[in-house]
């Protein structure tokens, strides 16, 4: 039951670049979220690190390749590995995204949007049930950031996720930054989105920075959380009753201490009144990528050693 899941406080993504500091200093962070795919196939150091982290901190597994919305068959090998990892590190919960990553055996490594139709709802609901049965735990699904809307869609995302949660018992991960990004790009109201969102099903929230390109916003996860997103978080915090909150910082990742300081800014927004939507601030245009994944690839060269013989 998702109602039994704990409130973990303010957490950080477990990132390769922070391993040394975490293992040597065991910093006082409330909890960690690990990207499942970064650890589930690992026979090397990442697996050893996540075991140690799981012994000391509450941990959550967050996936990017479940592809719950794909019309390809569910990947049972993937699910078995995910289950093995979950059995090993005993996460508070396992999450992924309302998206698909590929069809016809391919994987784009992007979180691609779903057409929001009755057909999609029935399709995803059936797969969520299968995944929950296999993992023997509720699945927690996140609203993705999006840049397109399908003309065939017949419902809004909050309505889709509410129906999905009611039909399957799954929980929801409310990414506040994604709400802002998707609504800005679609020209819709993020406050109205939150008002319609089934906040009683929210187990966790995400915060992240984004890049404003003038005409649109890219979900880059490479900078501090924007003031307008913090204001939206204030509203989301109140509506979810203080769901576990996590900062994602995945591009140009600063020091662990800077990431920790950034997520702790959330404490300033856990009360007070919502000041209403702010105009989104533009940032310089750059080579911006939505949902960056480069941070998932370890910098192997840095630790390679050449011996003399």
């Amino acid at each position: 039951m998702i109602a039994d899941l704990p409130r973990l406080g303010l957490g950080l993504g477990l990132r390769n670049v922070h391993f040394e500091q975490i293992l040597s200093q065991w910093p006082a962070v409330d909890w960690f979220e690990a990207i499942s795919e970064n650890f589930m196939d690992s026979g090397g150091r990442p697996r050893a690190v996540i075991r140690q982290v799981a012994e000391r901190y509450p941990l959550v597994l967050h996936g990017v390749s479940l592809s719950i919305g794909s019309t390809d068959p569910l990947n049972r090998d993937y699910l078995l590995k995910l289950k093995q990892l979950a059995d090993e590190v005993k996460p508070a919960w396992v999450s992924d995204h309302l998206c698909w990553t590929g069809v016809m055996g391919l994987n784009s490594h992007d979180l691609l949007p779903m057409p929001l139709t009755e057909e999609s709802l029935a399709h995803v609901a059936g797969r969520v049930r299968q995944v929950q049965d296999m993992l023997e735990r509720p699945l927690i699904l996140e609203n993705p950031s999006s840049y397109v809307r399908f003309t065939q869609s017949t419902m809004e995302e909050p309505q889709f996720l509410r129906s999905l949660a009611e039909e399957t018992g799954c929980g929801l991960l409310l990414d506040v930054n994604n709400v802002f990004v998707s609504c800005f790009n679609a020209g819709t109201d993020p406050v109205a989105y939150l008002e319609a969102f089934p906040c009683e099903r929210v187990v966790q929230m995400h915060l992240a920075g984004h890049q404003h390109m003038g005409t649109h916003i890219i979900d880059t996860h490479d900078r501090p959380v924007r003031p307008e997103v913090w204001e939206l978080f204030r509203l989301a915090w109140a509506k979810t009753g203080g769901a576990s909150t996590l900062l994602e910082w995945d591009g140009d990742i600063p020091s662990f201490d800077d990431c920790h300081a950034e997520v702790r800014k959330a404490e300033r927004y856990m009360g007070g009144s919502f000041e209403g939507p702010r105009p989104a601030a533009e940032s310089p245009a750059g080579d911006s990528v939505s949902n960056p994944v480069g941070f998932l690839v370890p910098k192997v060269m840095e630790s390679a050693v050449l011996e003399e013989t």
Binding site: E37, D41, S42, G43, G44, R45, A48, S65, S70, T71, N75, Y78, W100, T101, G102, V103, M104, L106, N107, S108, H109, D110, L112, M114, P115, T117, E119, S120, Y147, V148, R149, F150, T151, Q152, N185, A186, G187, T215, H216, I218, D287, V289, S290, N291, P292, V293, G294, L296, V297, P298, K299, V300, M301, S303, A304, V305, L306, E307, E308, T309
Partner: protein, 263 residues
């Protein structure tokens, strides 16, 4: 009538992998426009993101090759690679698996006799193979936390540990790779046979230059042969953690869990 979910996903994936094949009227029909973004603008964000995301990961997996080619040319090769071999696995670690073979298959002088081929392409292919081996060993199953063989281990119980690989190359790619790693000058080297053993202990991957004869010996051991290590250098292999102490395969109930690979 609305397209099915399956048809929509196939269309969008095709649009990502082969952006030039997308018909503008299809985009207009399938994707809604907002005041901020037309459907085509939104699709272009996904198309551009797909390429940038994969190339960024490939640069992390092949940093020395990227250094050798320069980033623009490296990115061009990756663009061709992911058109021919779009990613299939859920793990990004698999992205570069077919890259060395792609470079070999797509070389423009592939049909020329060997003596007429461009040598720098041979170097790039060898470097890509070496980098793939190093990258793979980083997260391969290993032997950390368990005892290794030592000088007292009987020869017939010496087995190569799982996180071990052998490589044979036409160019000194290991020296080039480590020169790039140490930010030292790394000119393209002339051809010179290069034999290495790669081994991981305590989660550190080491490159050990070896001779051709040593490569032959270790290849034989990887194939199940028994070898007595008398030479001082070969004794150092024990110190580097090449071997574990395991009964001969015939005495095991199942297939051996160990044994290095030859790449």
């Amino acid at each position: 009538m609305s397209p099915t979910l399956e048809a929509t996903q196939r269309w969008m994936q095709e649009a990502l992998v082969f952006p030039l094949r997308v018909a503008p009227e299809d985009v207009q029909e399938r994707l809604a426009s907002s005041a901020q973004l037309t459907g085509a603008d939104g699709l272009a964000i996904y198309q551009r993101g797909y390429f940038l995301r994969i190339t960024a990961c490939m640069r992390e997996q092949f940093p020395a090759l990227c250094h050798a080619l320069g980033e623009p040319l490296f990115n061009d090769f990756v663009a061709g690679y992911i058109q021919d071999h779009p990613p299939e696995s859920h793990t990004l670690y698999d992205l570069g698996r077919r890259f060395p073979a792609f470079l070999e298959e797509s070389r423009p002088d592939r049909d020329d006799p060997p003596e007429a081929r461009e040598t720098w392409i041979d170097f790039m292919i060898d470097l890509a193979s070496f980098e793939r081996a190093v990258f793979s060993l980083f997260d391969a199953p290993g032997w950390e936390g368990r005892p290794f063989a030592d000088a007292a281990t009987p020869p017939d119980r010496l087995r190569l540990q799982p996180a071990f690989a052998l490589g044979a190359y036409r160019y000194p790619v290991a020296a080039y790779y480590h020169a790039v790693r140490q930010k030292q000058p790394a000119p393209l080297p002339p051809a010179q046979p290069c034999f290495v053993a790669l081994v991981r202990t305590d989660y550190v991957t080491r490159t050990i230059p070896i001779t051709e004869a040593e490569h032959r010996l270790l290849t034989a051991i990887a194939g199940g042969a028994t070898a007595t290590l008398r030479d001082p250098i070969q004794q150092r292999w024990l110190d580097w953690g090449f071997f574990i102490d395991e009964p001969p395969p015939a005495l095991l109930e199942g297939p051996s869990r160990t044994g290095g690979r030859v790449v």
